[in-house]
Structures are given as C-alpha cells and as structure tokens.
Point group: C2
Chain length 124, copies 2
C-alpha cells in the first residue's frame, strides 16, 4: 500500500496536470491498465491509450483547478475540487468529488468522478 504522502503528492500532481498539462501528461499519472469512470455510472474507460483520448478533449481549454478537500484512507483518496474552464462567453465551473486508488508507486489504478450535469454552473 502506498504511503499517505505518496497519495497526497499524486493527487497534487493530477490536479496540476489537469490545469496545465497535456492529455499525455495526465494519462502518465495512471497505471497502464487503469480504469476511469467519469461520471460514476458511465461506461468505464480502460487503459492508458483510452485515458489519454479521454483527456484530449480538455487539452486545449484553459482550466483553473483548486483543491477544496482531500481525505486519504488505505490505498485510496477522495477529494473535492473546483474546475473552472474558460469559455468564449464566460466560464463553466464544477466542483466534483473524485475517488482514486493507487498502486505502490503512486500511479492511479482507478478513478471515479462523482458529479452530474446539474452541478455545472456558468460564471462570468
């Protein structure tokens, strides 16, 4: 089981990569055979190639990311965070709660994002 500090660093790296990195940068934080379920209830995305494709849709958007709360337990983290995506006419904000598990090296093995469309808010 990874150390709590390894998990905390991995979450910080993830949020930084989502904000400023490429899709490949984000996907590199995942284990090769990881799964991603975003939002929870949708068909999971499996493997790093498919995960890279998932994040590529966000790659050319300017995003600000802020961690609101992080809890670590066992090999897992649950965290609440804000994503603000700049759009031509304003910005879209959402504050999901994500749950991740990690391998010994701190790579993400599963990611599940809890949010629904009604949680997306438009802001100026």
């Amino acid at each position: 089981m990874p150390e709590q500090s390894v998990i905390r660093d991995a979450v910080a790296s993830y949020l930084k990569a989502v904000a400023t990195g490429s899709a490949a940068d984000v996907a590199a934080l995942y284990a090769e055979d990881a799964t991603l379920e975003d939002p929870v209830g949708s068909e999971p995305v499996r493997g790093r190639a498919a995960i890279t494709e998932f994040y590529s849709t966000l790659e050319n958007m300017r995003q600000d990311v802020e961690l609101l709360a992080l809890r670590v337990a066992g090999d897992s983290a649950a965290f609440h965070f804000r994503v603000r995506t700049e759009l031509p006419d304003g910005a879209a904000e959402i504050e999901p709660i994500d749950v991740m598990t990690f391998d010994e090296a701190g790579r993400i093995t599963t990611m599940r994002a809890f949010w629904s469309p009604e949680d997306v808010h438009l802001a100026q």
Copy 2:
C-alpha cells in the same frame, strides 16, 4: 437505479440519524445485507445487525452534523460533511468524505468513509 432526489433524501436522513437518532435508527437506513467500510482500508462490517453494533458506540455521544458538499452520480453519492462530537473537555471534529451506493428504495447498500486519524481535530 434510484432517482437523484431519492439519493439526496437518503443522505439527508442519514446525517439526521447520525446526529439525533439511535444506532437502530441509523442502521434502518441500510439494506439488510449492506456493507460498511469505515475508514476505507479497514475490514468491512456486513449486515444490519453488525452495522447497528457499529453505530452503537456513537449512540450516547452528542453529535452535530453538517453537510458541506454532496454529489450524486448513477446509484451513488459522495459527500463531504462535518461531525462535531461533544466530549467532557471540549469537542472532536472530523470532516470525512463518504461514498454510498443505494438500492431502488433508497436504502444504503454500501458505505465507505474516507478519513484518517490525522483528520480528527480537537476544538473548544
């Protein structure tokens, strides 16, 4: 899959029962064969009898509970909340993130609580 409103109501009922109800009141919100993992990484508690016993340790403590954030997706909810437990010399506060799944009737089928001992803070 339960409606989002059923899940939201179930979370509200849970928090109210934790604050003011008996152990049996809390356990009654769980499905008969539910599992509870609190904290994540510990051995899960299985079935309503064992779940009642789990909550009985908290039954005689005065607890204030406040919902900080709730996200609903699929048959699941993730929520961040504050529990303040009154102690003889002050109070203990913790703000876990819990993840629950629900059956069609809105009963809790699984509960997983993300927190670690270092998240417990003593307050006056």
